[in-house]
Symmetry: C2
Subunit: 334 residues, 2 copies
């Protein structure tokens, strides 16, 4: 394995020159740089991460604390992970996966002190999150996918809840719907609360009536939601769902009871994976979450922070795209 010394010898320069030529930390004549780069290519030299981390005191490795993975979040999680991994590599960093059941503090501590981690990306953020407090206190650079209640001073990417809800609800409004319902889990965590009020205020903005139906992350629950809706709220013509599995059950329930989607009832699912493929018939109209891009961004703002690059956008909100498929149509009464 070629080392920096080998490169130096071949290029006829000193070892440190090679370092600087590669890192750009000081000015180098064009001629020397060319010699160095040529030698690098010839020897197929790749810098040794461990040595770099040890000598420089800073590691070019980022840890991503990943959730253990229920089904629902799993798909999205992988998009985040791949996005983060790609962004890291693009900037010369490594991305370590740290599967963590809970907010295991010992894990986080080992991480922070292993000397091989330059920063941390956190997922599954709670409104009050002790991991955040700890990393902040220990001066470990970190960014979040999601955010705490007191996120003002931290770096994060998150969904733009209002934007997402608005996009979905407005589309129904444009199709002439006036009475809608929304399906949502009720897990007492930030996401649910935020989506709930976002949908409600979007409906209010467009002067639509809006009922909330609670579901859990299962098809059977979505089916029951349909039964409830069908019985209790016959006036409703449009449904916004925030759980794609329950949505599948909902569609299935409609089919079972002979209600035609989208002719009699429109359904739109929010917050679905970007590479959502057609899991239902008719295929579901969705507002996708750009998870891949969010993962990338989370890493990029973290690296900016590590490398002390000043950027304004240390907090970014994402909406995603409305993908019109087969479950939405003009309101039956419009």
């Amino acid at each position: 394995m070629a080392t920096r010394a080998d490169v130096a010898k071949l290029a006829g320069v000193s070892a440190s020159t090679v370092s600087y030529a590669l890192s750009g930390e000081r000015t180098i004549s064009d001629e020397t740089r060319k010699k160095v780069l040529k030698a690098v290519a010839q020897l197929d030299y790749r810098p040794n991460f461990a040595a770099g981390a040890l000598a420089g005191g800073k590691s070019k490795t980022i840890a991503l604390v990943s959730p253990s993975g229920e089904f629902g979040i799993a798909l999205i999680a992988l998009e985040y992970i791949n996005g983060a991994g790609e962004a890291a590599r693009a900037r010369g960093y490594h991305l370590v996966i740290w599967p963590s059941q809970e907010s295991e503090m010992t894990e986080i501590k080992t991480l922070a002190k292993s000397g091989m981690i330059g920063g941390v990306v956190l997922m599954e953020i709670k409104l009050e999150d002790e991991r955040v407090a700890y990393l902040d206190r220990e001066n470990v650079p970190f960014s979040m996918i999601g955010r705490t209640a007191d996120s003002a001073k931290y770096s994060y990417v998150d969904r733009d809840f209002d934007g997402v809800a608005d996009m979905g609800v407005k589309y129904l409004k444009d199709l002439g719907h006036k009475d809608i319902a929304f399906l949502l889990t009720d897990r007492e965590i930030g996401v649910d609360t935020k989506f709930s009020s976002a949908v409600i205020s979007a409906a209010k903005k467009y002067k639509m009536s809006c009922k909330k139906i609670k579901v859990v992350n299962e098809a059977s629950s979505g089916r029951e939601a349909f039964v409830t809706l069908n019985k209790k709220y016959p006036e409703i013509t449009g449904v916004v769902s925030l759980n794609d599995i329950a949505t599948l059950g909902f569609l299935s329930g409609a089919k079972e009871f002979g209600v035609d989607i989208p002719k009699e009832l429109s359904v739109i699912a929010l917050d679905t994976p970007q590479n959502h493929i057609e899991m239902s018939w008719p295929p579901l109209t969705t507002v996708n979450l750009p998870a891949h891009e969010m993962g990338e961004t989370a890493v990029n703002i973290l690296i900016d922070q590590i490398e002390k690059i000043e950027k304004k956008d240390r907090q970014q909100l994402f909406v995603g795209d409305l993908v019109k498929r087969g479950t939405t149509a003009k309101a039956r009464n419009s």
Copy 2:
């Protein structure tokens, strides 16, 4: 951050003694060990990975080359990843994620030469895989999730195709089914071929007739498969599916055409994620793939190899569990 030297000083021993006390690479008196461990605890000392890798020449970091992620594999992939990550950590290793679009050789080379990788876990193995050949040639320890055509000499975990097919088909037989069909994608890669012949021979073993229906990974395709089946093969009472998305479409098609599942037709899906949650109504009977455990095992056999621990089981095949839910019942004609 406490270093080994600090520990040595506090414990009143030499630096190297601390190393050996921790690694167990040479015999240490009980008394000294206790002193050392106490000092370690007091200072909350955590070894520095980078220094270890640099000095020892061997890194306690494993890279997992992860697929970019279509929907179909994504779920399973996350289970693999988390399993692998946990196993790695349990043995004092780190798991780096290396998202890789194709079998990008440059990526693999960077990896192998970065000096921070002690071994590699490969996913999405092709029958002929140049990454495998390269790692073998370069003497980089690796294990595979999946296997090449010439896998005899390598370490891997894989599904037991025959076992999985047998489990599913036998269950249908036990329910009195005699004429079955199976849904399968046809991507010209190892998995499809192996599952295809495994199902066919299981059917033959149990003296059942068996038709093959090709699908792609979409609900609409599953729906069409139902239409085909309904028209062309009315005698069939049981269906084995190897694609859970298409299966959803299949169920939906049955509902649309008023065919009762499971009374008139049984459906069982093979090779689904272990934490498969109820995506359909009625909930799908499945044979799960123990992906989490497979990820763990892939890492464990790799570490055995790295640490030159002799084990027989460097190749392991997995079947998984039959989970009986609501889409299977006694054959209508039995």
